[in-house]
Each structure stands twice: as C-alpha cells, then as structure tokens.
Symmetry: C2
Subunit: 318 residues, 2 copies
C-alpha cells in the first residue's frame, strides 16, 4: 500500500504574532507526505532547486518517505512568504511568491509511484493534475484519487478543473473556494453541487470550524479540534489531506465510515501542525500522541454522552 | 418545573433573499418561550404596546405559555427592521430599531414567575438583569440562571455585565461578542477567560458552525445542523436558548451531560426556526419532528460510526 502525492516543495518565511520563521521547509507535497507517513509509505512528486538542503532530503527519508520522485532542477526552490494577522490568525497576506524551479514543473512518476493505490493531486494547475492521472497506470481503474485546488484555478482554469473532478474520488476544498466553484453561498447546497460535478466525495474545510463531508446521499459534520496555541496555520490543509489519505490507504477501504474516520485523523494531525511553525509538530508526533489527541477529540465531541444516553424520546413525550 | 424569561416582545420586519415579512411576531422573550414550550411551562416577562394583536396573545396561550407577566403599556410595541445580505445570510443590516414601550421597561414578576427553577435573562440592560435576579426569590440559592448579552452592553456597561455574570450559571454569547468580552481572538482562550469571570458554563454560538460549550474543566464542540433553506435567521439564538433551558428544566438536572444534550436540542430547534420566517416553524414543529431531526443530526455527526468503531489503535500500530 502506498500514496503518491504531486505538489510543491518549498521554503516558506512565515510571520505570526508568535514570531517569525525564515525559510522553513514547506510546500503541499512535504506537509502531505509527513502527515501521511504516520500511516503509510508515501511518494512525493515534485521539484526543488540548488538551494535545497541535503539535511531536508535526509529528514524526509528518516520519516519513511520515498524521495525518488523529487527532482532537482537548476535554479532556486519555490519560495513563499506570508504574514498572518496579529488579531485574526485566519487572515493572511502573501508577501512573496517566487515560483522559481516550480514554474516549469512537469511531474514524472517512477514505476512504484505509478502503482500507488492512492493518488493525491495537491493544489497545482489542473492540466498538470490531469496529466498525472494519465501517467499513473492504475488510474480510472484501480486507484483512489484525491484532489485539492484553489481560487486561482477556479477563476482561470475552470474547464480543466471540472475535467479533473470527474476523474476524482474525493475533492478537498475550503469553504470560500467551495462557494466560488459552486456559486452557492449555503455550504450544503455548495457541497451537493460539487458532488454533481462528478466527485464521489466532497470535503469542505472550514479551518477552526472543522469540516463537512459529502458522500453518496449523506453529509457528515465534524467540529475542529480546540487548540489554544495556533502559532502557524501554514500547511494545515495539506496535513489534513495527508492524514486523511494516509489513513484510507492504511485501512485499504474507502467506505463512508472510513472517510468519516479519515476526517477525524485529518482534524487531529492538522491541529498538531498549527501548534508549531512549519513541519516541526509533524516531525515530533508519534502514534501515542495521535491516540491521546484522538481520545481528547472524542471527549470534545461528547461521544461518551452520546453513547450513554438514548432516552431523548422521554423528553419529548413520544 | 418552569422557566421565567425576561426579554423583548417585538414586531419585526425582515427581508432576506427569500422574501419580505412585515411586522412578524418576534422578540427574544417570544422566540425563547415558544422554543422552551416544547419542553416545559414558560413565563415570559415583557412589555407590549397598544398595537399588539389579541391573536398573538392567544397564540402564545395556545402554546402553553403563561402570559400573566406580559404587561401592556400605552404606546407602540418594540419594532425592529432588518435586511439580510442576499449573498451571505450571516450578514445583516439593521434598518430600524424603535424601542417604543420597551425603552422604559421595568420587569415585574408575579409569584409563580419568581419561583421558577430556571431564570433566563435575555439580551437586555445588565442593570435590569441584575434587578430581576434580586426579585426572583429563589435566586442565588435554588434557581439556575442563564444569561444572554450583546456588544452594546459589553461596550457600554461592562462593569454591570460582569456583576451579572458572577450570578449566572450559563452565559450564552456569540463568537464575535465572546472575542470582544474576553479580548481573546482564539475561542478556546475566550471561553476560558469568560469562565474566569464567574459563570459556571459558557456557550459560544457560532451560527452555522455550531457551538462550543465550556463547563468545569471541559470543552465540547457541536457542529451546526446542515440545512439548505435558511430563510430568516432572526431568533435563531433565542430559539437555541429556549430549547436549551427548556430541556434542562424538563430533565431537572444541570450536569455536563445534560448541558451537552441541551445544546443538541438547541441546535435542532434553532435549525427549524431559520427555515421559515419569524416564529412560523416554532409553531409547526412537534415532538415527532424534533425527534426526526435529532436522528438526522446524530447521523450528521456520525454517531453510528463512532459507536461501531473502536480500533483506532490498530491503525497507529499501538
């Protein structure tokens, strides 16, 4: 069992009210892989430049990530700089986006990466996402495909994006993008409309407010984990996706109940990610810590009360 | 068992993308009482004017609401007019607030209302809220006190408000007001800080994103019910509060598990309220409908999956 993820490899400079972290390891493929590696083998597909540190490659390998599909190109690694609002960490400003070697990125997958049971197309040009599905030989037949996107592609490449959605099993999208893509403000309607584009499952990410999951004719809602130290929200969405698909690959089943539980793991691991700058938390957490927070999360959503009480009818004189 | 609620009696003119409803019955004491009346006897305490319709008084009585503490004053009933944004129903503009007879409202409670086990102080001047607690003879000894407030009082009467909070068991507050009152943007920190003001329980209302509940050393989070027809959000918060305290009064117990379940009923009944203009839904729903939506809500939060699966440790190699 393994996952192939196609996305960015980056250095990020991030400033929040908790401080400033310069040129920290980042990018969607990196956050995704480190989160997924808690559950399964991961093949990130991406490109980095001459400035990419050997120690960062080693760090990935130490976390059981197969780096054979990360290609070095002449130039600099993708660089992003962001400033999160002091008063509202949900607001951020992009100060720099230097695509560098990522600008002409053409994904290539070696044999093992082509054969992964799960393919995740992180937020890149939908045309490239479509090409990757053509390369991965299991696609459309045996593999399970996840998709992320952003407002840029919804606005500039809607047709290509819709083509990729028809080939996808799960689309992960944040609430404002779901509204933009569907033209619906109400999130239930938005989720249903995106389902109608051809995805089998839609996960709408609402940041601190959790996620909505649409699958078949059902919806599920999970609140976010309550943490008091949000130091750096960068990579939360990719950590969510990495744990989500990592869990699905590990349990080798994609039914509603699996997707529901995958969302719980996504929520838990993303909550760890934001408690530290960059990938720091992802490197620290182990199975024990994930399980501990899983129990905390179960308490947060009141599972023990739901279990023990089943006498609602009495209260309604039914 | 009974509840006394002190708040407004109003006529509201509301415009949303679903239409316009003129001079519909409204006000916090009305929404609260109609919701609470699904569970228990309710004494609204308030004032109305010469224009208040006899048929509206009869409507309340038909719903087992005791109207003996609603006083008629010479003048017009409190009138509010609001316009909800076409694109985002969570945004609203107040077009008119005519306090009328509500301007000099001095709550008076008859004996039965003074003896209620539950007292809810809807969103009025904190000084009046404090006076009501002085009148209700069980207060501080035997009764259970709930409190609502708004940004106006946080900004203009913070000291009085904090005095009332120390006398309250539950404070219900929306997320932006919780941030304002606590000076904390992070809602976990905000909830904890408000607990430190002396309330035994804090419920932070997040509209479509559900609620956070702080009680003792624990937090609980419940997502909102997913509805696709939000026709008129007016009264959602007061319906939530009415069902919440109605349920608590009915089960005559105020432990964490009761407050958790009260929040589920609050969520369910508020979700019905917003599906129609004004109090229309509150008049229509019965125990069967509440129970049906309770089951839907349980499915939404995935209780059957949480019940049936307890093998998370396997996935983490623990």
């Amino acid at each position: 069992m393994s996952i192939t993820v196609v996305g960015s490899v980056a250095y990020d400079t991030v400033t929040t009210s908790f401080g400033r972290s310069e040129r920290q390891l980042g990018g969607s493929a990196i956050y995704f892989s480190l989160a997924a590696s808690k559950f399964t083998k991961t093949f990130p597909v991406g490109v980095y430049g001459n400035d990419f540190k050997q120690s960062d490659l080693e760090l990935l390998e130490r976390n059981s990530i197969d780096i054979s599909n990360l290609r070095k190109e002449d130039g600099l690694t993708f660089f992003w700089e962001g400033l999160y609002d002091n008063d509202d960490i949900n607001n951020r400003q992009t100060l720099a986006t230097d695509l560098n070697v990522f600008e002409n990125f053409v994904p290539t997958l070696n044999k093992p990466a082509q054969n992964s049971e799960v393919i995740f197309l992180a937020n890149i040009n939908p045309e490239l996402q479509f090409d990757v599905l053509g390369i991965a030989k299991n696609t459309n037949r045996h593999s399970f495909v996840g998709l992320d996107t952003m407002d840029l592609w919804i606005n500039s490449a809607e047709k290509s994006l819709k083509k990729v959605i028809t080939k996808s099993d799960v689309i992960m999208i944040d609430q404002s993008e779901a509204r933009l893509l569907s033209g619906e403000n109400n999130l239930k309607n938005a989720g249903r409309k995106i389902m109608n584009l051809g995805a089998k499952c839609v996960v709408i990410k609402k940041g601190e407010h959790g996620v909505l999951i649409f699958i078949n004719d059902h919806e599920y809602a999970l609140p976010g984990y309550l943490t008091n130290d949000v130091k750096d929200p960068t990579g939360a969405g990719d950590s969510f996706a990495g744990s989500f698909f990592g869990f699905l690959d590990k349990c080798a089943s994609y039914e509603s109940k699996d997707i529901f539980h995958a969302s719980i793991f996504g929520t838990i691991i993303a909550s760890y990610t934001v408690e530290n700058f960059g990938v720091k938390s992802l490197l620290l957490i182990d199975g024990e810590m994930i399980y501990k927070r899983y129990l905390d999360y179960m308490n947060l959503i009141g599972y023990k009360y739901i279990y023990s009480e089943n006498k609602f009818k009495d209260y309604l004189n039914l």
